[in-house]
Amino acid sequence: MKHRCGFYIGDFFFSVPLESVREVLKKAVVAPVPGTPPTVAGLLNLRGAIVTVLDIRSRLGLAPKPSAEPGALLLLDDGDESVGLSIDRVGDVVGVEEGSFEPLPETLRGPARSLIQGAYKLPDRLMLALDLDAVLDAERSMAEGSEK
């Protein structure tokens, strides 16, 4: 049994391993930084430290969140750094069995595909497994972001 932290971006119900989440911030003010690719939402003042906040909406084919509004963030463990991920809202922590995992359904196409590893079959719905390496990969997020 593993635990995953569920969260929502648009219509997507994503999840990441619970241990990869350092913190959940419900209302964080992110300072936008011009000149960055659309995947970089800006910078966050986290108790005196400066944290990069990513926004994968453009990679999912969604409109980026207007940066002026405070929004929910997951603080993800990125080795030596913490990296923020802008989300719509956090969901429950869900215990999942390895057997309930399935690779990406064939029906799922579009830009989101490169960010999703697969899905967990929950009793009532599917919970997508977000590919954290793909999300945090600085070069890829720049390249795919700049295509927009």
Binding site: L43, G48, A49, L54, V83
Partner: protein, 692 residues
């Protein structure tokens, strides 16, 4: 013998402790010079030093402390009243003793030599600058303000060096070029050394910890050992000073609240002796510090309770706090969990002060605790204290900080001044006191918008220094100046040229700090080569002679400038206008038995200026200077108005060209000058030689 070494280490530590004590007491004595208790305390401390130094036969230490003891016994017995001179002298003795101790610590023995007898015998401040003159010393104390001033002067030296380098490249004199390259190398080395001088091992802040722990253990009836890792991790002197007190406080805290008494530890199945470990390591521009104890840890439940008692949180709020947030309550002002204020930690200084001190130097502190197993404080501090005075500017939407070291002046654009902005294709320049300043529009550079052709809205020009040459950054508004602490950006910013860091303003907002060099480079104001050269000056030797290029500087009819690589120039001729023939709409002359196609400079590079620089020569000239250029197959003549001079350039002087037919630009005679790309300009081959 290791035993000896250990005893000596102990002696040195104890000596420093006593000297610390003496210094504190002397300050008390300045307020109350007759206090018999304080005088006796100082006397005892010197006496202890004297006694132990005699055991080790450290004669210089013994003699010095004896002299101090002498003076103090007279004061104590009322034979004299302590004067300011006395205090100064005693402080000097303390300073000298510290030097001796440092020497002993290093060498394991006392350095040979005599201390100045005048200094020893006269309890008055000697007029010579120090007691150690004439004695071989490997270290010396330098006032940090002197070091700071030196650092500032080195900054000026670097700028002057840059100016000299630029000037010398324009001279084309190999002797001058050689000398200025030497100047370049020396300057770089000095800069490096001065930065090095400010770095100190963290061990300097740690070396009192073992003694502190020992004393605290004795006082509290506990047992603990100290483990240190990474004591040689270096960081800036001022940072080291800033964390010294917080560190001591955290160690006291670990002993007082963390480590349990031995019998309790035994009952809990822990080793009777607790462990306090100090760890330091470098991590990309930061120093990571950890202070860990294997003591009782912090019970989040107790902190929640306490928060309710103190009225910081309602019971409901406290119940909702995550454990780690509850533990972090210890950083709140006036929040102490000790049952009673203890003599060791509870002196009104709380962890909130520790946190403040660390954040003041741009650091951050976090606490991790496992009840029953121990507590770790993690501190992250910048390697160098970079409190940078900056100018805050706005691009109309976002605020940015520019380090003031780069700012030369501010010029308000708009109204009549906007007319001084001239356009060369996509490149804008501004004429400031006769000097042409390449312009970068901040908003457009960052947001990839096309530059505004009409500078109608009021804007501000920030004249910046990027490497050796200035450029103008057009911003919406210059707002304020603010001293900020620079913090590094995460790896997602690595590929971006615009920012060198970020900072948090007084109001909590995050502002990016502009990388002036990167900005200039991305807007082609300076070449990437120059940037690399500046960033890694030590690695860049003088450019080899063959890489240098000599350019022929010419002027067009309207005094426009161009440069031609000299290796493409066959000769420079003067032709008579009467000799020009027109063949198929193309100008040619008979030259050395062949037809030489002529190109007029003013036609090759279309006029791009808003207004002509000077009135064109109205009368047609009888003789025209022609630069005869050659390529693999043909010769061409380039008709110019005037031949100016030859300039010697290094690759670093060139910036990329901004339009077709231009290989690059240089600054020559204070003007932006385009280097002609003859291969491009002369293609396609004129079809004048076709069958007729």
């Amino acid at each position: 013998m290791t035993n000896d070494a250990e005893y000596i280490k102990e002696f040195v530590l104890e000596g420093h402790e006593n000297l610390d004590r003496i210094e504190a007491l002397l300050l008390l004595l300045e307020k109350d010079p007759r206090s018999p208790e304080t005088l006796a305390d100082v006397f005892r401390a010197f006496h202890t030093i004297k006694g132990t130094s005699r055991m080790f036969d450290f004669r210089r230490v013994e003699k010095l402390s004896h002299a101090a003891e002498d003076l103090l016994s007279r004061l104590r017995d009322g034979q004299a009243v302590l004067s300011t001179d006395n205090v100064n002298w005693l402080l000097r003795v303390v300073g000298t003793l510290r030097q001796r101790l440092a020497g002993i610590e290093k060498a394991g023995a006392e350095e040979p030599g005599e201390d100045d007898p005048v200094f020893l015998n006269t309890p008055a401040p000697p007029t010579d600058p120090g007691p150690t003159s004439g004695i071989a010393e490997n270290t010396l104390r330098v006032n940090v303000t002197v070091l700071d001033r030196l650092m500032a002067e080195v900054g000026e030296l670097v700028l002057t060096r840059n100016r000299v380098l630029q000037w010398s490249t324009g001279r084309g004199d190999p002797e001058i070029a050689l000398r200025s390259q030497q100047l370049n190398g020396i300057t770089t080395e000095i800069q490096h050394q001065v930065m090095q001088m400010r770095l100190q091992p963290i061990g300097q802040a740690w070396n009192k910890v073992p003694r502190l722990v020992r004393d605290l253990c004795a006082h509290l009836g506990k047992k603990a050992r100290v483990v240190m890792e990474g004591a040689d991790t270096e960081l800036d002197k001022s940072i080291l000073e800033a964390i010294r007190d917080p560190l001591t406080h955290l160690v006291r805290n670990a002993l007082d609240h963390g480590i349990e008494p031995p019998d309790l530890r035994a009952r809990l199945g822990k080793p009777a002796e607790g462990t306090v470990s100090l760890r330091a390591e470098h991590e990309s521009g930061w120093v990571l510090l950890e202070i860990t104890d294997d003591g009782a840890g912090i019970d989040p439940a107790r902190l929640r309770e306490r928060a309710i008692q103190k009225g910081l949180h309602s019971a409901e709020e406290a119940g909702r706090l995550e454990d780690r947030d509850a533990v972090a309550l210890v950083f709140r002002s006036g929040f102490s969990t000790a049952e009673k204020v203890t003599e060791v930690s509870g002196r009104g200084i709380g962890l909130d002060v520790v946190k403040d001190n660390i954040e003041k130097v741009g650091g951050a502190i976090e606490i991790l605790s496992a009840p029953g197993r121990g507590t770790t404080f993690q501190i992250r501090i910048p390697l160098t204290l970079s409190i940078v005075p900056t100018l805050i500017v706005s691009d109309g939407q976002t605020d940015f900080a520019i380090p003031q070291t780069h700012v030369i002046e501010l010029v308000r654009l708009g109204g009549e001044r906007a007319a001084h902005v001239e356009w060369m294709e996509d490149a804008a320049v501004f004429r400031l006191r006769g000097r042409l300043l390449p312009l970068v529009f901040l908003r457009q550079a960052l947001r990839r918008e096309p530059p505004p052709r009409s500078a109608s809205t009021a804007q501000t020009l920030v004249v910046l220094r990027a490497g050796a040459r200035p450029f103008g950054l057009v911003v919406h508004r210059a707002k304020d100046t603010e001293e900020i602490v620079e913090k590094p950006l995460g790896r997602h910013f690595k590929g971006l040229p615009f920012y060198e860091g970020a900072s948090i303003l007084g109001d909590g907002r995050v502002v990016p700090i502009l990388d002036v060099m990167g900005l200039a480079e991305s807007a082609h104001v300076i070449s990437a080569l120059e940037r690399t050269h500046r960033l890694a000056p030590a690695a860049a030797p003088a450019p080899p002679a063959e890489k240098r290029e000599v350019l022929l500087l010419v002027a067009g009819v309207d005094d426009s400038r161009a440069a031609i690589p000299l290796d493409r120039v066959d000769r420079v001729e003067e032709i008579s206008t009467a000799a020009i023939e027109r063949v198929g709409g193309r100008e040619m002359i008979q030259y050395r038995g062949e037809l030489l196609p002529l190109h007029r400079l003013s036609n090759l590079l279309k006029e791009r200026r808003v207004r002509p620089r000077s009135t064109p020569a109205s009368e047609p000239m009888e003789a025209l200077p022609v630069v005869v250029c050659r390529d693999a197959r043909n010769r061409r003549g380039l008709v110019v108005h005037r031949i100016l001079e030859m300039v010697d350039t290094a690759p670093g002087d060139r910036r990329p060209g901004s339009r077709h037919g231009v290989a690059g630009t240089i600054i020559a005679r204070g003007r932006i000058t385009e280097i002609l790309d003859l291969d491009v300009l002369f293609e396609p081959l004129p079809s004048s030689g076709g069958p007729s």
